[in-house]
């Protein structure tokens, strides 16, 4: 197995790289098809409605070409329905996350991931392509299919995070996961590209292409993904190789004070690459029992992080959904300009997730980084709400906001979920990764779904500035939820330092 060259990465094999890429692209494809849906909305609502004509003027003929479809009377109603589909999707996605994580820990992660990818590809094909080819336009059919799509898509995230958690141990996790969580943003860019390049053939082909590509991704995952290093006889904790800044005391006191390293010590880390699981090591690791949903919920840190993530994902997804609309409405910029500008938020999020992950790896603690970032996020929200009408300054402020909001959001949903799913309290029952990820992301998605509604409500009643105050309040809320963890981790850090000083 050729190890990659640069120092701290030398512990990684080509299996690590393939697992990283496969999980990364699984979620890229998933997010690409989500983005496709939001990018073809204009075409779909055109397809569903008759041509708009002034009351005085006669309708265009031939009627079949211009007035044939009456699913909705006008564009506004179609837009409302499309918004309702988004909300339906988010809710069923949130509910699905609670279940799919539990399933993922009990059934082979690879199968669940494939079912999620291929199943949702099939549903999207029916939703966008088949109904158009057969000219079946039915509101209930669309709603039903989109609920199913939400449920199937929810299988993917917990599985990919669990697989990543299996391959990449605690030490480098913050950085690797930070890099990896760029998948959503990359997916957005890919989806926008795919949709725009085939949209001229008809919106059904945008759905056809993204769903076929997603299906192909599912097939590749089925044949190529190793869900855990154990499958090829590598140690689970292959890279407990420890980050350079850690002192000796630290190396036995992992980030979430979990069992990984202690476990690893038992099975002798240093011949890790070639040690086989067949050797009896830890009787408990032989047949890990999956945790139940309630057990996972009661794990230390799961509830606080879930609630904090609900607040944070609300803000994060509101930016995702509403930013172009806000920019167009508030500054009067062109739609294409607004779309392009809103990419900077994603860029900030990727940078934030990676850099903050790296810092948290070096510090050995995540919540202080998170809390600091969230405090700065509140400040940057205040700044952004007073952005001048200048695209360059706005883009800079947007990147900053993305850095401080998207960064922590990415970190909680990936690295911290993985930390939580493999912590100390799970001794004897290692299979909790997908369940915990599902709970955290599910709670977050409920927040995001509620936020969709609340933002439009607040905006219409009170205006945009109040929406920003709402975002600031939500960010403050997420700080409040992680305060107990912050308190605990800071005290631990303090104690460690004291102990170190005494040793010296």
């Amino acid at each position: 197995m050729p190890p990659s060259c640069c120092g701290c990465l030398s512990q990684y094999t080509h299996h690590h790289l393939v697992a990283f890429l496969l999980t990364f692209f699984s979620y890229v494809l998933l997010h690409a098809s989500r983005k496709t849906f939001s990018n073809v909305k204009v075409s779909i609502s055109a397809q569903w409605t008759p041509t708009f004509t002034n009351d005085s003027a006669a309708a265009f003929s031939p009627g079949k070409t211009w007035e044939g479809n009456h699913l909705f009377a006008d564009k506004e109603q179609a837009t409302l329905f499309l918004g309702a589909l988004d909300t339906i999707f988010l809710f069923s996605y949130a509910v699905g996350l609670y279940f799919s994580g539990v399933i993922g820990d009990r059934v082979n992660l690879r199968y669940v991931l494939c079912v999620g990818l291929c199943g949702s590809a099939a549903v999207e094909f029916v939703f966008g392509t088949l109904t158009e080819w057969l000219k079946i336009y039915n509101v209930y059919l669309y709603c039903g299919l989109w609920v199913l799509n939400g449920l199937l898509q929810s299988a993917v995230w917990p599985c990919v995070v669990a697989v990543m958690g299996n391959w990449f141990g605690k030490a480098g996790r913050g950085f690797v996961f930070g890099l990896w969580s760029a998948c959503a943003s990359v997916g957005n860019i890919l989806g926008a590209f795919l949709a725009s390049s085939v949209l001229k053939y008809g919106y059904e082909y945008a759905f056809l292409v993204t769903s076929v590509v997603q299906f192909a991704g599912g097939v590749v995952v089925f044949f190529g993904l190793l869900t855990s290093p154990k499958e090829v006889g590598l140690s689970l904790e292959a890279e407990t190789g420890l980050s350079p800044v850690k002192t000796d005391t630290d190396s036995h006191r992992p980030l979430m004070s979990d069992e990984e390293e202690e476990d690893a010590a038992e099975v002798e880390v240093y011949d890790r690459h070639y040690h086989s699981i067949q050797e009896p090591e830890d009787p408990l690791a032989e047949a890990p029992l999956p945790v139940t949903f309630c057990q996972a919920f009661c794990l230390p840190g799961v509830l606080p992080y879930s609630l904090a993530y609900a607040c944070l994902k609300l803000v994060n997804y509101s930016f995702f959904f509403w930013l172009p609309f806000y920019l167009t409405n508030n500054f009067g910029w062109k739609e294409a300009d607004s779309d392009r500008l809103s990419v900077w938020y994603d860029v900030g999020g990727i940078l934030g997730g990676t850099i903050q992950g790296l810092i948290s790896d070096l510090m050995g603690k995540r919540s202080p980084v998170l809390a600091l970032s969230l405090v700065l996020a509140m400040a940057s929200l205040v700044g952004y709400s007073h952005s001048p009408n200048d695209q360059v300054i706005n883009a800079a402020l947007l990147t900053t906001t993305g850095f401080f909001i998207g960064g922590p959001s990415n970190m909680i949903s990936s690295a911290i979920s993985a930390d939580l799913g493999r912590q100390d309290a799970l001794r004897g029952s290692q299979k909790a990764l997908a369940t915990v990820t599902g709970i955290v992301d599910g709670t977050g998605s409920i927040g995001a779904a509620a936020g969709q509604y609340l933002v439009s409500l607040i905006e219409s009643k009170l205006g945009w500035i109040q929406v920003f105050y709402f975002f600031i309040a939500m960010t403050a809320g997420s700080i409040v939820f992680i305060t107990p963890l912050l308190h605990k981790e800071v005290r631990e850090m303090w104690r460690e330092r004291q102990a170190l000083r005494r040793q010296l």
Binding site: V18, S43, A46, T65, N108, Y201, G224, L225
Partner: protein
């Protein structure tokens, strides 16, 4: 109004069409020629038009074919003295033929109204004789020449709705072009390469060029990954 009370007015209803056309318009439905009894008389407007354009009279219609192998078309229709009260059934009776009607005589009928859409699609309708109190379909602006004489109204020379600068010039939606569609009517048909509902679609999706490489690369990547990754994998 009852049928049969039409005697008060001299009854002629005549339509004339320039029939220059394409073999694809087959007259399969000559029902309209039998709509009312009698035949086109030689002295009437349709009769004169028919003989001058070498047509053949059948019932109330004047038929012609450009060469012997092609089916015949209706080029003129004389519905005068037919006791018609509404001119909308007309179209239903003549769906197969209406595009070809060039000359139509509707005079001497107790017509009270002509429905708005009655002449929609009558692209070639070029000459009409109507009872005096009925306006030319689409209004005077849709015709080159409108005159009233001997108790009848004559509508001559249908104008192209699309090229008018007047009140009815309507722009077709994106990707479609305006085409005349009967007096005062126009049709928006998809421009070159565009098709489908609202002409939203452009070109044909290159299915093979997209999915063949995709399928091939999926196969290759799957095989490659299986060989390097999963071949020696043991079930957990």
């Amino acid at each position: 109004m009852k049928a049969g009370c039409s005697q008060l007015k001299p009854a002629v209803l005549i339509l004339v069409f320039n029939l220059c056309f394409y073999g694809s318009y087959q007259v399969t439905d000559l029902q309209i020629c039998e709509l009312c009894s009698g035949a086109v008389l030689n002295g009437t407007a349709v009769g004169r038009f028919c003989s001058s354009s070498a047509g053949r009279i059948e019932g109330r219609c004047c038929l012609r074919n450009d060469n012997t192998s092609d089916p015949e078309y209706i080029i003129g229709l004389d519905l005068s003295n037919c006791s018609l009260t509404h001119v909308e059934d007309l179209q239903r009776a003549s769906t197969a033929a209406y595009k070809l009607l060039l000359f139509r005589d509707l005079s001497l009928n107790p017509i009270v109204n002509i429905s708005e859409a009655a002449f929609q699609g009558f692209i070639e309708l070029n000459y009409m004789i109507l009872p005096q109190d009925i306006f030319c379909p689409g209004g005077n602006t849709s015709w080159e020449k409108v005159e009233v004489k001997e108790g009848n109204r004559f509508c001559e020379g249908q104008k192209d709705t699309c090229n008018q600068t007047g009140q009815l010039s309507m722009n077709c939606p994106e990707n479609s072009l305006c085409a005349p569609y009967g007096p005062s009517f126009f049709e928006c048909s998809c421009a070159d390469a565009y098709h489908g509902y609202k002409c939203l679609r452009e070109g044909e999706f290159p299915l093979l060029q997209v999915f063949a490489p995709l399928g091939a690369s999926t196969f290759v990547i799957s095989l490659l990954l299986w060989l390097t990754q999963r071949r020696k994998a043991e079930p957990l």
